[in-house]
């Protein structure tokens, strides 16, 4: 069975790689809301999120030939492009001015709703593995990945020193990988 049969997004990216503009339009219809959701959550404003999505689709068009459907699902690849660019933009913002508390700048996600969402489908396994982590560390990893929180943001949010946060995350990731690869 071709790896694309159950992955319509990968199939569209394959056609985009052959410079098929109708496929590009179809791909946009299929995934732009998801990609905009990613950029909007990380960047926190519509105008910057639209710029990020524009850049993401530009990269998708230019790099579609490099996509390998045997290695990743199409949606995963497109989201990674969007996330990486949105986080680059976030990190390129000027540092907060003196006295501005990093914790004040960050939005408050609702971990309850999130845990429910990722308990479904393909995310079931990672959700089980997250459950083996200490709750604060699992939340820090989720916050970093989903909201683009920096070490500074997370350290302020969890009220721990920066280096402590960094080793929390590294150890948490190792634990997560051992669980996922077990």
């Amino acid at each position: 069975m071709s790896p694309r049969e159950d992955d319509p997004v990968a199939e569209m990216i394959g056609r985009v790689a052959r410079a098929d503009r109708a496929a590009f339009r179809a791909l946009y219809s299929a995934i732009s809301a998801k990609l905009f959701g990613v950029a909007f959550r990380i960047l926190g404003n519509r105008s910057e999120a639209e710029d990020a999505v524009q850049e993401a689709f530009t990269r998708i068009w230019l790099n579609a030939r490099r996509f390998d459907a045997a290695k990743a699902r199409g949606m995963t690849w497109a989201i990674a492009i969007t996330r990486n660019h949105a986080i680059d933009r976030l990190r390129a913002r000027p540092a907060p001015s003196e006295g501005e508390d990093a914790a004040l700048r960050i939005r408050d996600p609702s971990p309850g709703a999130e845990a429910t969402l990722i308990a479904k489908g393909e995310a079931g396994r990672i959700s089980d593995c997250f459950a083996t982590l200490e709750p604060a560390r699992a939340e820090a990893i989720r916050g970093a990945y989903l909201d683009g929180f920096s070490y500074e943001d997370l350290a302020a949010r969890h009220n721990v020193p920066l280096n402590t946060m960094r080793s929390w995350l590294r150890r948490g990731l190792m634990r997560l990988r051992e669980c996922l690869e077990a």
Binding site: R21, G37, L62, I79, R142, M174
Partner: protein
Amino acid sequence: MGPDMDDRDGMAAEYVLGTLPLPERLEAERLIASDPDFASLVARWQAHLAPLDEAYAPVEASPELFARIEGRLFPTGPAVRRWRLPLFGALAAGVLAIMVAVFMPATQPQATLTATLTGQDQPLTVAAAFYAKAGELSFVRASGPAAAEGQDYELWIIPEGQSAISLGVLREGELRVPVADLPPGTTLAVTLETRGGSPTGVAQGPLLVATVIGKG
């Protein structure tokens, strides 16, 4: 394998997680493009963490966004105007969108300032870092495709009010050139040239990205 990550795997993990500061992210992106072993470490972490993507709720973008994207990728207007030196005149005429250099705290060893070369509707971005102590200017392609077969990206430095001086061509990896000083008002620019760079020492191809060192 011990419980600790080695540095490269740690960097790959932190790149995917998103927690690295910008200079380290750009370094990771450079490695992904140039080092297949590092790229596969990143791919492995990406595969592990991708199930979290389900938590992103879809949000509709504005209805005009697709037209903007198509307009950027498939321009229907007249062919992009070629520009010739003096570059500074073209810049001053407002032909280009210039992003003023962003001064950042020196997060890399001895980096005195960093700047990003960008252009309007241009996927290419080039990160520049100036090391005053070493007298070196470093460039790396931060995003966008490599130059097409038979072409090269050529870097130029334009002291305020003077003509452009070639700094060489930028391919994969970092380009470091000796530059004694980078005063405010200096322009850094990239043009698209035939392979090996402009044979005349004067820019022939289109200007892609540029930045003017800020006066802040």
